[in-house]
């Protein structure tokens, strides 16, 4: 009575749409990436040029610089979010007055559009209208100018990312911590283990799978950060916050260099997959297998 035909019929719209807007773009971009194609150049046709685009890419200092600062950004942001998120998750396990309200407020940034987050932080940090540069100047005499200082712009993007995404880490770690068995902790306390010993030898190994899943999600999302940064700094000053997504956005369209732009897209996709796959194989899969 369960005809296979009907099952496929029900699935077909999903497969067609994801094919047209997921798989086909990928094949198309792969194909274009082996051509030289700039519709507004002297020679607007598509010319097959083997792996010339990729050869150029490997030696492109702008691309490599963008890749480098992306990884630095991801490292600082994700590590801070993990530490902070863990501390806040632990703090939320205890009962105290108003906990539900505080937890709700803490979750608030999650639902905000990245572009709005970018505009909020722009309004706070732009000298002349922002409150943060004003306070820093009057309290510490420090001149914060994200339009001029590369370090300041980078730091503000990291802080913005922490503000936006720490709640996600907190919530996932709460879910993990709540489901932990209590026996090992009681046993450890009876044996007279210290707080740090309990953390390193019991809590951390037990929540490791959840922790890694969280790192995985944050890493993937941080690698593709575009909207916030585009809004806040536009990739500047210079190219100090030109993270890889911003780089693609700025490189591909104004220059209409479609062949080369496609090659960048393919490489970035490839690198994302490799990073995620390495993380999965190296950290998550062995754990799953063992238990």
């Amino acid at each position: 009575m369960h005809s296979q035909k009907l099952g496929w019929l029900l699935l077909s719209p999903t497969i067609v749409i994801l094919g047209l807007f997921g798989i086909f773009p990928f094949i198309y971009v792969l194909w274009v990436s082996f051509h030289s194609w700039n519709p507004f150049a002297a020679n607007p046709g598509m010319i097959f040029n083997w792996a010339e685009n990729y050869r150029r890419l490997v030696f492109d200092p702008q691309f490599l610089a963008s890749l480098g600062i992306t990884l630095t950004f991801v490292f600082f942001a994700v590590v801070s979010e993990l530490v902070l998120g863990y501390i806040l998750a632990q703090a939320l396990l205890k009962d105290f007055p108003g906990k539900a309200v505080f937890r709700t407020i803490h979750t608030l940034p999650l639902i905000m559009a990245p572009i709005i987050v970018g505009s909020v932080w722009k309004l706070m940090t732009t000298p002349s209208i922002g409150i943060i540069p004003y306070l820093l100047r009057s309290w510490f005499g420090y001149d914060l100018n994200i339009g001029q200082s590369a370090v300041a712009a980078f730091t503000v993007t990291v802080i913005m990312d922490i503000w936006h995404w720490t709640p996600l880490v907190t919530l996932s770690l709460i879910a993990a911590l709540v489901s932990l068995p209590s026996d090992p902790f009681e046993q450890a306390q009876i044996d007279g283990a210290g707080k740090s010993q309990i953390f390193w030898h019991i809590t951390l190994p037990l929540i490791r799978p959840a922790m890694l899943a969280t790192v995985f999600i944050r890493l993937m999302d941080a690698l593709r950060t575009v909207d916030e940064v585009l809004m806040l700094t536009g990739g500047g000053p210079g190219s100090s916050t030109r993270y890889i997504g911003v780089h693609i956005f700025k490189e591909v369209f104004p220059k209409t260099n479609y062949g080369y732009g496609s090659a960048i897209s393919v490489i970035v996709l490839y690198l994302t997959i490799v990073v995620c796959w390495l993380l999965y194989v190296g950290l998550i899969a062995p754990r799953v297998k063992r238990g």
Binding site: L10, L11, P13, V29, W121, I131, A213, R224
Partner: protein, 278 residues
């Protein structure tokens, strides 16, 4: 366990909440400031309300058009992905299809790629390939509704699958005994029971589509531009109209906030992509 300072967490969390809320409060402050007040000494306390920015945004025909586009695109997309995701989950959980686990996994992978990577191919496909005569998907609302499926449809399938799977199969069997068709089972048995899950999926996919910026900014020029792209226009073209920009941001934020308060509890599972459950 008794703590020695019962008020300490309250104090600390009040500070954390202030840090979380302050940026949003500052957005509001800027949005209700008089233009000449903007560049005077920044002040945390609100002394007057100046609603003209909101008036300007709400009466500006271009921005109203963007708002309408945003509404149409996110509602159309949320309805489409929830319906298709529901049908797909029904097929994946109730039918014996060859390789259905691989199909399920494949749908999920569609969401993992960085969207920036797909800007160029989607732009080229929409403008050059996906067209029939004069009809083109480029810069159309229908085009954006379909493009947003690439990240929302995997999400809908991912969140709906446990819901549909959790509905006891005995109910289907009983209905089939009474001579029901698969469509009646879907409509009369599964749909009513899956309704809470469908509502959450609908709302979350709506928010994701409403919040999207990058694809909308690249794939539309006029007919299908959304509110989020309007925001960036005010930063670049007019030498940054701060008050207007803040007012648009607030207006974009409000629907998401309302939705947030409704489905707050369910949001975590959605945003973490179900990964925490394991």
């Amino acid at each position: 366990m008794k703590t020695r300072f019962p008020w300490l967490p309250v104090v600390l969390w009040t500070l954390i909440s202030l840090a979380t809320l302050f940026p949003i409060y500052w957005l509001f402050v800027i949005s209700v400031k008089q233009p000449f007040d903007l560049f005077s000494t920044p002040d945390v306390i609100l002394r007057s309300f100046f609603w003209k920015n909101y008036q300007d945004v709400l009466t500006n025909p271009t921005l109203r058009g963007y708002m309408l586009n945003s509404m149409i695109i996110s509602s159309g997309n949320a309805l489409l992905v929830t319906t298709l995701g529901f049908l797909a989950c029904y097929a994946l959980t109730r039918f014996d299809l060859a390789g259905k686990e691989s199909i399920f996994f494949w749908t999920i992978t569609n969401r993992m790629a960085p969207p920036a990577v797909f800007l160029l191919p989607l732009f080229l496909l929409l403008t050059q390939v996906y067209r029939i005569g004069d009809f083109s998907l480029a810069d159309s609302k229908l085009g954006m509704i379909l493009v947003y499926c690439s990240f929302n449809l995997p999400f809908a399938i991912w969140t709906l699958r446990p819901t549909v799977e959790g509905i006891p199969k005995e109910l289907d069997e009983a209905a089939y005994m009474d001579g029901a068709s698969p469509w009646t089972v879907l409509y009369d048995i599964i749909f009513p029971l899956a309704r809470p899950g469908l509502a959450v999926t609908l709302i979350l996919t709506w928010v994701f589509a409403w919040n999207e910026y990058l694809l909308a900014a690249t794939l539309t020029n006029f007919h299908a531009r959304t509110l989020t792209t309007g925001l960036s226009e005010y930063v670049t073209t007019t030498g940054t109209a701060w008050g207007i920009m803040a007012a648009i941001s607030m207006l974009t934020l409000v629907p998401a906030l309302i939705v947030f308060s409704v489905v707050q509890r369910h949001i975590v599972a959605g945003l973490t992509f179900g990964a925490v459950k394991g």
